[in-house]
């Protein structure tokens, strides 16, 4: 009997143990390796770095620790500017996403109930089609002789071709376009639950619609605003595909810098150091996001 309950407990223990070990091995350990390699020197070899650390030689490792790559990151202001510009581009995009996403989510929440699930499905559908393809679609629209220019010239709104592709504006358009579902869905989830009688009461008491929007709707939608903003801001900071295809050579972003250190310059230690830098920038928003998300999932009735 005791034997059996032991077996049972061991089998039951496998449920958390298997995914735990998987994530530990393929998520946590790789991070430690990035950290380790970011401290080592580049080398012309395969793999192209010189390890500072053999498992057998702990004391040698501690002595040979090398912050050279990080010194380089601090000295060369390219990385500093790339970090700053990534955070700026991500922040502006998140704000634009809020401005674009809020009216859509609000409209969805006020639509007759029988249409709502259809609207939600319609918001999600583009997300199921390839991200790369959706960004590629904008290249044809934004390029100098592209479809946007053709359309605007056709209706006589502009006389000169627009030159949007390969500018920061194109990156904003791309991020807003690609991330819109991630902003709209959390906003919709909170707006849908909102009690309309509050707004009616405010209007009855003489509040203007504008004022009731800021004093009632926005505070009640705050969980959705926070979740949506973090869900867009964090990946936008590290975005690679959008600045690469739409941003041209002048758009500095750190995800792109990491990519080129790795693929073009083949400097793996420096690429790892850039990854650590990116992670340091994002650690606070990621922790906040995790708490918000865990609380949301667990608080659901």
């Amino acid at each position: 009997m005791m034997d059996r309950s032991l077996t049972r407990r061991l089998t039951a223990g496998l449920v958390p143990a298997v995914p735990y070990l998987w994530l530990g091995l393929l998520f946590l350990v790789p991070f430690l390796i990035v950290l380790k390699i970011s401290l080592s020197d580049p080398a012309v070899a395969q793999p192209p770095y010189k390890p500072v650390f053999e498992w057998s030689d702990i004391s040698g490792f501690l002595g040979g620790l090398d912050l050279e790559n990080f010194t380089l990151l601090v000295e060369d202001d390219l990385y500093f500017r790339a970090t700053l510009s990534s955070v700026r581009i991500a922040a502006v995009s998140t704000l634009l996403l809020l401005i674009v996403g809020f009216p859509i989510a609000y409209g969805m929440a006020r639509a007759p109930e029988r249409y709502r699930s259809l609207l939600v499905a319609a918001i999600i559908l583009p997300f199921w089609t390839s991200f790369l393809i959706r960004i590629y679609a904008w290249v044809a629209i934004l390029k100098p002789e592209g479809l946007l220019t053709q359309a605007l010239m056709g209706i006589g709104l502009i006389s000169e071709p627009l030159d949007i592709l390969n500018t920061e504006t194109a990156v904003y358009i791309g991020i807003v376009y690609a991330y819109l579902p991630f902003m709209v869905l959390p906003l919709y989830a909170t707006l849908e639950k909102m009690d309309d009688t509050l707004l009616e009461a405010a209007l009855d008491l003489g509040s203007t619609p504008w004022r009731s929007f800021w004093t009632i709707t926005v505070p009640l939608a705050m969980p959705g605003i926070i979740a949506g903003s973090l869900l867009c801001f964090i990946p936008a900071v590290g975005e690679f595909v959008i600045p690469d295809l739409l941003g041209g050579s002048e758009t500095l972003m750190i995800g792109r810098q990491l990519w080129s250190e790795f693929f073009s310059n083949r400097d793996w230690p420096l690429a790892s150091a850039v990854a650590i830098l990116l992670l340091i920038v994002l650690v606070v928003p990621i922790v906040i996001y995790r708490d918000v998300e865990a609380r949301r999932v667990e608080a659901r009735p």
Partner: protein, 267 residues
């Protein structure tokens, strides 16, 4: 509840959905363009679809992508369901905080970091890059999405059904397979589809972990796109969009039918 759509609401919905769908629509329309210049209309033609099916490298890449997506989504579904059970049915086991951290972080982590760190791991353990490294990398990323989808279902369903089965003497494993699993099955399917799509779609993580002999479709499309617009890419995209649209519509219809059936049974 008495909700009414104002003119403003309707306008923002119309503009919002036009913004979401017009670029995709234009892409599909221009895949039937006879001209090699993608943005200049030169008459209707299906020649690029023909060219696509003669492009063996692209078709090979599509097969590799499909196989990776099927395998990694299957693994991710199993691991993600176990993780969701661990988070909802195991209370406060040791290391739970670290565990939730590891589940939520990969979903928002920039892909360049995930891709780079997994690659460096595979190099460190001397694992040849190719089909298997991409599969393992995708499994790790997508299992977290499966976890969240299944977890939210486990949170909401009626626990008393499980308790009743246990009270009647069903062992835990039996309870799981005959009570819990059927109840969470829709969310497991949804998680699988999500994992499958994410894997099919991924460029960044696959680029870091790809090796000789294993090139995925997004990697191929990306290198074609970097050289400029190409009508063949438009055609490939239109096919992918068509498959996804059909898949989503049939999944919606299927789930609607099963909802109707269960409603009927309830009466």
């Amino acid at each position: 509840m008495n909700r009414r759509l104002s003119v403003f609401n309707v306008t923002s919905l119309v503009i919002g959905f036009a913004f979401l769908y017009l670029p995709i629509l234009l892409l599909v329309i221009y895949s039937f363009n006879a001209s090699r210049l993608v943005t200049v209309w030169g008459g209707f033609s299906t020649q690029w679809y023909g060219a696509l099916f003669r492009n063996e490298a692209l078709i090979d890449a599509a097969w590799v992508t499909l196989r990776i997506a099927l395998l990694s989504a299957t693994l991710a579904t199993i691991l993600g369901t176990l993780a969701a059970l661990a988070l909802t049915r195991y209370g406060r086991f040791p290391g739970r905080t670290l565990f939730t951290g590891m589940v939520y972080a990969p979903m928002v982590m920039p892909e360049v970091i995930t891709g780079l760190s997994l690659l460096l791991f595979f190099v460190a353990v001397d694992f040849d890059r190719g089909f298997w490294t991409i599969t393992l990398a995708h499994t790790t990323l997508t299992m977290c999405f499966v976890t969240v989808v299944v977890q939210s279902r486990l949170m909401t369903f009626d626990r008393s059904l499980e308790e009743a089965a246990m009270d009647l003497g069903a062992p835990p494993l039996r309870t799981f397979f005959s009570v819990t699993l059927p109840l969470i099955a829709p969310s497991i399917v949804a998680g699988f589809l999500l994992a499958f799509t994410l894997s099919m779609d991924d460029l960044v993580i696959a680029s870091f972990n790809a090796g000789p002999g294993a090139t995925t479709l997004p990697i191929k499309i990306y290198s074609a796109v970097r050289l400029g617009l190409s009508p063949e890419v438009n055609a490939a995209s239109a096919i992918l969009i068509g498959i996804v649209t059909l898949g989503v519509i049939s999944a919606t219809l299927l789930s609607k039918r099963s909802v109707l059936r269960s409603r009927r049974n309830a009466h």
